[in-house]
Amino acid sequence: MPKVTIDGKIIDVPAGTLIVEAAKPVGSHIPVFCYHPKMAPAGMCRMCLVQVGMPKMDPATKQPVVDENGQPVINWMPKLQTGCTTVVSEGMVVHTTTPQVAEARRSILEFLLTSHPLDCPVCDKGGECPLQDHTLHYGPGNTRFYVESKFHNDKAVPLSPLIMLDRERCIQCGRCVRFQDEIAGEPSLGLADRGRGLEVTTFDDPPFNSNFSGNTIDICPVGALTSRDFRFTARVFELNDYPSVCQQCAVGCNVYLGTRDNLIRRVTPRQNEAVNEVWLCDKGRLEHHYAHSPERVTTPMIRAESDLTPVSWYEALNFVANRIRPTLGESGKSMAGLAGDRLANEDLYLFQKLFREILGSNNLDHRFGWSQWNAGDALVKNFGAGVGTNLGELGKGVTALLLGADPQTEQPVLRLRLSKITRQGATLVVANGRATKLAQYASHKTIYRYGAEAYFVLGLVRAMIDAGLHKSDKANGATEYSAALNLTVAECAAKAEVSADTLKTIGETFAASENGIILFGREFMYAMQRDPAVEAALNALLILSGHFGRKNNGVIALYPRSNSMGALDMGMTPTDGGMPASEMLTKAKLLYVMGADPARENPAFKNPGFMIVQDLFMTATAQKADVVFPASAWAERDGTFTNTERRVQYFARALEPLGQARPDWAIIQELAQQLGAKWTYASAGDVMNEIAQRIPTYAKMTHARLQVNARRRASVQTVGGDAAEPVQMALGELIGVVSGAQWATFSETNADAKFDVKFVQPADSAQATAGVYLAVTRALLDCGALAQYSEIIQTRVPDASVEINSHDAEAWEIANGARVRITFESKPPRALELPARVDGSVPPGVVAVANNLDGTMNLPMGAQVQVTQVQVSQAIAD
């Protein structure tokens, strides 16, 4: 570790550290513009100039020369050096405050300001602008240039429906371009021209077509890139920034909800190095608009005669209670509860408590629609990735195996974080039935045959055993297992249609690696539900590789929604013979639907007798309901979500509830009280206290504990005070902030436990042999239950299309863009007509359709269709 002296303070830093980073711990502030700690240095702005000297070496003795006081003699470099590109070395001396440095900073700022419009009063960055702040700290107090002589350029250039570019304000730091290239991996931006004419441009069609474009707004050190959504709705110092958690997917990115006048004006990332670092995807940034949609249901309603009529809460609750009360006790069995897994832990916990303790029914589920694949929770409970695992920091000695997942569209920020781990030295293996974005970054990537997932995993197990890399110390029945596993690697490879060598390499790499993590996604969960052999094989791979029970080891299920994990933890699954979602929709007499919309996905769905719907909108299901309870949006109450990595995170209330809407947990409590329960939860925090007592894995997870590091951002910054938080965020500082708490898995809390391994023969499913297979995928920006109420998201939703492999397209004589009719087996048989997209993302024999777009919304989802056969029957060229 080199020892360096910065402003007279001596510090040891790891080799390879840049001067700007080394200066942070000693408290010397080096201003930067183009440097960002999350990206490779570029040295474009020269703001970070510092004076650097090296000890003079005696060529004879190779020892530093010392002066008469015994101090080493310093050879100062003739010119100032950029702190963001200079790596520290032993004995280096750095001065950051000399008059020379101060003069350099002043000159750089003066230079930048010669062509800067200085329209801070109308600039959305004003108040959290590094250029403003640096100018105040280090800049010249006045100008030597005439205002008229300033350089002018285009203002308000729309780069995309989301982002506005002001060319005059751009200081050409290249951060936005580098973010898109290095971090997002979607090189949508470029720098054109030269000198002061250098311009940020986009060459995409549609323009700036990236799922992560919003991040460039945050990291742009000036107001050149601003959000068109937030544009001119508030000054940043007028916002109240409440700490929250994004509700749009299972990553659970930490956000600030910036509110003004009881409206969310913008969503910005809140740093959490274990979850989202400082990034967000565009969906998380923009979907919040649904919270103040005029379409929200704001009063309780009951069906009087044939119409739903607004009534008071008292009437509505009474109506339901009167209906339920006479049947309490005996016919609880015919009541069922379906709850969406975008709801908070507190809601789901009380919901199942209402059913199990008051109504006496175990007919509870959350696995419906997009979430109906949610599987693998037993694996997670036992072998979930050890506490302290940080997916963004995986490096040397870690192999991450990604199975049947497409995080680019389903867990976008996780994709960002995983795509850098190979650069950090980790091994990333991506296996799926089709090509995904993340595969570009993989050390090994492979495409298996959909339906042959079990063979694929068994091949890995076999390869591991063959190489003698398996561990049996924590396994019961390891020897029997390897005897029962009557398949060779080659046989598995043939079934899965991958090369035997690939399978062998992956299996051996994973087993031999010091740490191993398995992440499986929705497409894999579908396979798990169809064939128990898949889960058994994964179980064996985990146990026999010994990759569980510690940090950087174990399994992560990539669930679809913000609280899918929490729903499983809270017991939102049928137990003791309760009905699962698929059954309750037809068999239940009384259905309580909370935050779910079965009628949207299945138009044939009928009101089963008596139906209570608790939602934000008049969903298709709510229109058929007998009672509608208006629920408040997530931003209108507090609570906790458990993300896909089992991290329980607190989100604060940011808005007043709309109309008479109430938090879901409060509605459930009122209903329970009407039915005679003595519940007295005063807040969501009270419910969480009970969860912490009753659910062992959630022990001690009270709101107070989860709120650590999740505080409200001060709305008014001390002008020119110590680097204020938004500026630090823009500069990517505040490194190391982590909040939330991960629950420990069984294998971690019971270090001596042994686990059974059993071989299950894979079923030769139809998909593994049949002709064409329909893969159901997702688009990130969609017409989902909430997204459809966010206009700005709707401007970016892609048109539905069917992806076809070029070989198939040739064989079927389908041109790119032609309309294609696909008929697939389902009950009843169905057909879809969509334009074809021939872009090589699917292998031959597979066609892929995203089922969350206009026209594909009620495409059957996975387990509903036993055999999905597709014939491309008719092609009409455009």
Binding site: D119, P121, V122, Y146, K155, R231, F232, A234, E238, V716
Partner: protein, 183 residues
């Protein structure tokens, strides 16, 4: 006895003097006392000589206000519907005169000289709500012969270039000259 007499005479003298001197009271409201030029009364939102609003909706006045009396809701200008020079204008501008302490900080914070505390001090209301004055009440009429806002007009330029020479008024601080004198 002399003591008493003296007091009486003195008293009557004072009375007599006051009877002939000019009274200091005004017959308000018939007669209004003129206020000093820098008196800080009710605010006005000023216009440029070409009729555009000076206010660009920047909220700096609201940020400076120690009493939190100002509310600004900005919006974007367009060439077809232009309120002020540049990209942004105040769609709503409200001052709660019951909160305002007439310190003039807003005036000082304003980068365009839009908000000025003027000489109206007759600020009494029958209810609290009407003490919140809106942009329509605050905005002065356009100069004679000029159109009001919004109007169809291309962007006259940035903040400073947008200030046209003022006919017969005091020139705004010319920052070009300021820069020249400092060189």
């Amino acid at each position: 006895m002399f003591e008493g007499l003296r007091a009486l005479v003195e008293g009557l003298l004072t009375t007599g003097k006051e009877m002939v001197s000019k009274p200091v009271t005004y017959q308000y409201p018939e007669i209004k006392k003129p206020v000093p030029p820098r008196f800080r009364g009710r605010h006005e939102l000023k216009r440029h000589a070409n009729g555009l609003e000076k206010c660009i909706g920047c909220s700096l006045c609201a940020a400076a206000c120690p009493a939190d009396a100002i509310y600004v809701l900005p919006a974007a200008n367009s060439d077809q519907e232009r309120y002020s020079p540049g990209e942004r204008y105040a769609a709503r501008y409200e001052i709660n005169l019951l909160r305002c302490i007439f310190c003039g900080f807003c005036e000082e914070a304003c980068p365009t000289g839009a908000i000025v505390l003027e000489h109206d001090y007759e600020l009494a209301y029958y209810d609290r709500r009407s003490a919140i004055i809106t942009k329509t009440q605050l905005l002065v009429a356009p100069p004679q012969g000029e159109q009001g806002t919004p109007r169809d007009m291309p962007d006259p330029g940035n903040l400073y270039a947008a200030i046209p020479p003022i006919k017969g008024g005091v020139e705004p601080v010319n920052i070009v000259e300021m820069a020249q004198t400092q060189v």
